[in-house]
Symmetry: D2
Subunit: 392 residues, 4 copies
């Protein structure tokens, strides 16, 4: 059981770029990072393009006004001068700025936690990788749904052979919140998402399916994607070339196959993210609307519903258990689990503790780069008319 006791000597001093008052994702970062006050402490921020709003917001969080900055460059420069300057930074801006901010952050000697989709090009990922190695820092990626205990259970059951050999990977992140195009013009957080200059070469593939693709990497680390084929659509025509819906078929090295459905025009669907792993003798299925239930279906046997926090789970699924059985968790519990691991990873990196770094399961730079590649390959396939392309 994990009840907030410190896992590292002292919390990291931590800053944030973006994630201001009006942002979609900022609060999730703060809730995830600051849950226990033993992993991170929020010390500085460049919350917003609008500096006045940044200051007002930071003051309302009881932050030190002088550490609220107009932009990330100033923040990195000023914090570097302080003895108690930040040691890690969060990047929660729209996609197109991830790369430049990440680069600047590493150059400023900071560990980085970056939003997905990481960058626009694999080459950018490689450049950051080299830089991070040089600076001795790590880059974490906030695939925020991936910290649920039962995903750890899924991973360990698959590893233990509980479903036989994996044959299929069925993925879905398909909601309907962009059915209506009004938001494309009017909603802050939607406008940039349908602008290729800011969002990158895709809309829903990058915005949504990178999460679920990582989830498949998390639970089936042994699977290697060989080829994929994507058909993408812009049901709201003004969004073209960016897609608001995409179907992907996958083929893995070992003969397994898979599917992904990414959509923002799947009208009315509220249980957005699903993952089903089929094996030669059983399947496992999970969805993020009921994240504390995992369905284990052995062919020819009654379906079992595994529930979070129960003794019958594997140790991996109980390591971050905080609340006890019958006490159900939500998205923020997932983020907290991730942030705790981010802190452990940073600390291990600082201490040169490779063993911890290598055994810790969290979304790291490699997974972020896989996400870039995933988007690019899907777009390539779709733009060629929906043909099979090699993944690597």
């Amino acid at each position: 059981m994990f009840i907030g006791e410190k896992k590292i000597a002292r919390p990291f001093r931590w800053g944030i770029v973006g994630g201001g008052r009006t942002s979609g994702v900022g609060y999730k970062h703060r809730l995830g990072a600051m849950r226990d006050n033993t992993s991170f402490e929020l010390k500085a921020a460049a919350f917003d393009l609008d500096f006045a709003r940044c200051v007002d917001f930071g003051k309302n969080l009881n932050m030190d006004e002088e550490r609220l900055y107009p932009d990330y460059k100033t923040m990195f420069a000023e914090e570097a001068k302080r003895e108690d300057g930040i040691e890690a930074v969060d990047i929660a801006t729209p996609n197109f700025q991830h790369f430049e901010v990440c680069k600047a952050a590493l150059e400023a000697g900071l560990h980085v936690i970056c939003e997905k989709p990481l960058f626009f090009k694999v080459e950018e990922g490689e450049e950051i990788k080299a830089l991070a190695e040089k600076m001795g820092k790590i880059v974490c990626v906030t695939y925020g749904f991936s910290g649920f205990d039962l995903l750890s259970q899924m991973r360990s059951m698959i590893q233990n052979g509980d479903i036989g050999e994996v044959t299929m990977v069925d993925l879905r992140y398909a909601h309907g919140f962009a059915c209506d195009p009004t938001g494309d013009k009017q909603a802050e957080g939607q406008k940039w998402r349908v602008d290729p200059a800011k969002s990158g070469p895709s809309f829903v593939l990058g915005d949504l399916s990178t999460h679920t693709f990582y989830m498949s990497e998390l639970v089936c680390p042994q699977l290697k994607l060989k080829q994929l084929l994507c058909d993408r659509q812009s049901f709201i025509k003004s969004r073209a070339p960016l897609e608001d819906n995409a179907y992907v078929l996958m083929r893995y090295e070992n003969g397994a196959v898979g599917r992904m459905w990414a959509s923002a025009v799947n009208a009315g669907d509220m249980s957005s993210q699903h993952i089903r792993i089929v094996g030669t003798k059983a399947s496992l299925e999970w969805n993020d609307m009921h994240p504390d239930e995992l369905y284990y279906e052995v062919q020819g046997k009654p379906r079992q519903t595994l529930v979070r926090a129960m003794d019958y789970l594997n140790p991996e699924a109980l390591e971050y258990e905080r609340l006890g059985a019958l006490h159900y968790t939500g998205l923020i519990d997932s983020w907290s689990n991730l942030y705790t691991r981010f802190a452990i990873a940073m600390d291990a990196k600082n201490r040169g503790d490779e063993e911890t770094l290598n055994s810790l399961v969290y979304p790291d730079l490699e997974h972020g780069i896989d996400g870039i590649r995933w988007v690019l390959k899907c777009v390539e396939s779709a733009d060629k008319g929906g043909v099979w392309v090699d993944f690597k």
Copy 2:
């Protein structure tokens, strides 16, 4: 409300080929046809390859022993001689015999109810079509899951524009009952299914997905399939070239897209058949495990669960209502609805009542031929490596 009162002047005298004691599907035909004793009366049968078993079985159904036949040819010949000979016949043999029996039946002047997948070639379908027209008979296809009241509701809601324009068709018939290959060698009803000579060019595409493909035609009659792409696998290697799993992507004339997952190796899944139709403003979803519930999801509104037999349904969904609200139905209720319509169609054909024939909604020869085409096109696409092929 429909409570079994006759819809035609007198029940058809009806025979069956196949569907004997050990068969998988025979009882469903009898239950569907004989529910009310006002549509069909079972008078003759060539139930089985094993004649002794046929006789024993027929006697146990209290049938007239002299009308139990060793084979369909004898049956057609002998029955034709009787004043009270059969007027319609059911074909419930393995796939490879559908064509020859159907042809013989029509030549014998019988209406036909035939199992799916109808035949192996589109040309066979066309030949039968010409023959049926010449003989003034009809051919019905037992897409047995398609008679549920809430599928009629789905069809009428889509027609009424309740979901906006259709954008996506998500189909699934994916169970796991062939995960274990033992049955391929040992189970009567499985052996021929994995033998291309008897099953045709596919296993699950023909055996399963033809049902769900018809369902999509039923609820979205306006949609025209333009292109499809199929990737198929034989996870149990000995089944190759027949697939035990297949993924299909679809593109429709109007820009809508779709997916199908057909599988007999989706380990542990018990809610086999799903259909979700997405529109520009809402979606409808149904599955055959809970066939009396229809989910209506308008984007931005609470999900609604429509339930069979309730007053708020459209007239189309209440026409075959038999039991009243709170009384839930099962597969056989679906079959009964279909068989009642088959009888009405045959009767209309006999009477030359084109109006009835044209307005009646049931799986007819055209739908059967579409099913043949569906299988062939999927196989063609898959065998070319998973490429887009035109549907017509």
Copy 3:
């Protein structure tokens, strides 16, 4: 597997009193009885108070017009004269006529299938019992929801100790279809239900909870009810003294306890009938909206969902299996199972086969009398202000 082959030498010639065109329950009897045409054949009927409607209806069922009667007395008298007269009769009239028709039927030498609630007084039950014994006939009661395969599974699992010792019985038949009082005045089938002269001393206790109470007897035959306490309400005031809602608490001989909720004003609820049996180590739960699923919950283990027709079920749950796995059943399948057993019981009685009679599980006269007692004791308790009363 049971696929309609005869279980008795020839079907019983069978008649019906009530259950006409406008009746709520008539079609269920016919569907249940005539499913296979190997148990019962409908030969005669006094369907209706309105004789013209009776005749019209019977003709539409292709019945012999001369065997359609104006009333049950005429039917019993005329049929008795025929060589091929009916051997069994169904009583599907409103409650207040059950006793007199049942008595007359037995006196006419017929086996009886009678609707619930059986009669108004326990003494009437005893009188009928003596008469039935004298005449060598049996009386079956149509607790029509009790024929589902998974209730047999529940019974056998409890018998096998799979849940430990039974500690609790939680019962519920609570819908909302009488929220609106309009039907009390306007709907044929509702009017008599709220008239004590026709319905008896209760409304929902008799109309609904007798079903679920029998279900508890079916799955826990070993439990003996010792005391009960009932609080009943007439939320629609004009219904008083008849209740439209009732809560009952139960105490069993062995220390187990239970609850029943009967209601016709549980607004909006569509999954009317639930039964949960709790034991010292596990529970079983079932509801009639999803009758092919049974939840087995062992404390400290994942919940299991057992599904109809699967090999892992006990033989008792597979004895009436007709359709194969993945093919889901509905209410009429339950009725058919019951009617098949009724036929077997009648046949055994005729043959003096006590062994079959004693081992066959079906709702018989004793269960019908228990239902009368249940209603009377609940009413007694409620009318005394909600106090504990002894059950026997």
Copy 4:
């Protein structure tokens, strides 16, 4: 939307009694209180009976060692001496100490947040009430499940008449985690719960049903409980006179009725807490396993599933919305909502802002006293043999 911005000028300095490393509930308090660091800051603690463990634990939370105390008396005394001493305290000890600690805390001039069941006697509640008034402090009660957004929705819909007049209140907190008596002797957190000296006059009535009873007060504030009747059992005999299972029937002033099922021996059940409010035209149902879904069932209309954070909800249900649609919450989100309101209430009390105090919806001292009365009346009824007793 609420994203952690301060609602009060500065966070309260806050301490805790109990809730140490091994405790069941301690972490929930800290997570609830410290979510945003804008409502409370944990400054002092007497976490544990075992002082060494208290110190070790506090240090692991990065607390100031000198403010970790061996007992609450020392803590109150020492903190009172400090300029920056605590202003509020949490009582998370076993039940029997709530009263004395609460009294001491108020006397020390602290606001109090106290665990349920509040105390053992109504008189104790009255005494505390007088004391709190005298000291100008407030007492909050951690009915921790009551902070979910959709309970606010339920309350406002009922208030708006969306279900008509309330007729029934169906409550349930019934799990199976005490099926096995081993824990009674071996588990710290279970031992005192079955000891009347420490737990009070009841086990599950106090431990579980007080939560759900408060929930009914929360969503139906207008209902006044008039009479109740309770039957309680000790299925594990050694627990007597404390019950591990109880059934309660309720009668309200306005003619509405209700039921409660409290149990720790409801083997295998994982969806412990349910509340269904039935009205004359519709019902609302909620359970704590899927707390972001609310079922709204209008008789004669399709069931609606309302989901947290959607625009169609009432303002009351969106006031504490933090995450956006599709992002599901868990128990800790409920606790955080409560703790934010506790802080607002304390602040309002300090400022003499009666308007805020009166309009704020949170579990206060009166609700705590109602919980005491609920338990005592249930016990009284049960001990008299299960008879009706007046509630007030």
